[in-house]
Amino acid sequence: MLGSGIIKGLAVTAKNLAGSFHDPARYVTQEFPEVQPQLPENSRNFPFLVADDGADPMGTLRCVACQICEKECPPQCIYIEKSKDKKPDAAGKLQLYPAVFAIDTSVCMSCQICVEVCPFDAIKMDQVFAIATTDRFNGLLLNREQLAKSNQYYHSIHPTEATEVDARLAAERKAAEEKARAAAAAKAAAPKPAAPPPPQPPA
């Protein structure tokens, strides 16, 4: 019968209209500012720098200014200047730190390649998405202070990944300490050390 297809289609829309009041499978929109979205753990937006101590973020950045991310970043939105001096890192080893670390979020395309190439687990992806600013030039250029976030914050947004990273870093630190201890023992056993032993990291 001509028109039966249309009537069948109208029945579908009627079912959906009625369903949109009680069936959660058909009622899927959220009222955004009132209802905040539940982001999945892997969700990513812009990068941030991990600092081990939230109270002193500039002193405990994991970044050692190796500039790998700067080289690999496809849209070239990262800018790093190495420091002149060295500071001890979490394992006590003297490391360079970034004197300048800037990310131009107007250029960044959230591709996560900086996170993947970082050998120090120093840069991770944030989940903050409400980042509108009134200054399109300077407001979108984030500097070191704006980028640094604590390890606790990292745990709060990517718990599984952060736990893995912490375990790996702890294992690496332990291995390094043991190696240093073995080296020191070997040196002490040697009859005449050619040079004074290097400063030992606090155990």
């Binding site: 070239q76 800018y79 004197a99 131009d104 107007s106 300077n138 250029l141 500097n143 070191r144």
Partner: protein, 218 residues
């Protein structure tokens, strides 16, 4: 499916006097290609399409490649007689030579009817400046129509016999060919707040009064 050498031999038997060379691909994919001389290229393409054992009815991909002049240094060992009358010496001589510059058009052909491929064919222009004509294969495969226009637009290869050779991605009146290796993008720069030195240096020339780039203090 026949190898590139077999196809070449068959083509040479069919088209005596045509220039057909096998270009070997040193890579792992081993997709070798046939370089066709311009005079016979369209007839050969037609043959490849209609030949019952090949039936390459689909020209899947057409693209250009720019090969500018490249300096190659060949080291050859030359025996030089000693003027003092001693035994001749073997010395290494370094010869510089320039590879010829040309633009190349690459076609990837497949057969939908017989489900094989790819057969890769190439044509080359005489140089990169005034002899940039190659025959268009659009009369053989319609799928070349837009793709050859694109190669014309971005590389500057002129396809003789193309029904509608106009720029396709760039606008009419654009002068240069952006995909060539020596293309320099025009200096119509707008200041963007990236902290990169190069950008800042160029921005400075254009906007002397712009405030200095924000330098995050350490």
């Amino acid at each position: 499916m026949e190898t590139a050498e077999q196809i070449r031999d068959r083509l040479l038997a069919r088209f005596p006097g045509a220039e057909i060379t096998v270009v070997t691909n040193p890579g792992l994919s081993a997709q070798h290609s046939l370089l066709l001389g311009s005079p016979h290229a369209r007839a050969i393409a037609q043959f490849l399409r209609d030949d019952p054992t090949l039936r390459l009815d689909q020209c899947s991909n057409v693209t250009g490649v720019d090969w500018p002049e490249k300096e190659i240094i060949d080291t050859v060992k030359v025996t030089v007689p000693d003027p003092a009358g001693g035994p001749p010496k073997v010395i290494e001589q370094k010869n510089k030579r320039l590879t010829p510059a040309y633009l190349e058009v690459v076609y990837h052909l497949y057969s939908i009817a017989l489900r094989h491929g790819p057969v890769v064919i190439r044509t080359r222009t005489g140089n990169r400046s005034d002899q940039v004509d190659v025959p268009s294969l659009t009369p053989v495969w319609r799928s070349c129509e837009f793709q050859e226009r694109e190669v014309f637009d971005l590389f500057g290869v002129s396809f003789s016999g193309h029904p509608d050779l106009r720029r396709i991605l760039m606008w009419d009146g654009f002068k240069d060919y952006p995909m060539r290796k020596d293309y320099v993008d025009p200096d119509d720069y707008e200041w963007e707040p990236t902290p990169h030195d190069e950008v800042l240096a160029r921005a400075k020339v254009h906007y002397p009064a712009t405030p200095a780039a924000p330098e995050p203090k350490a």
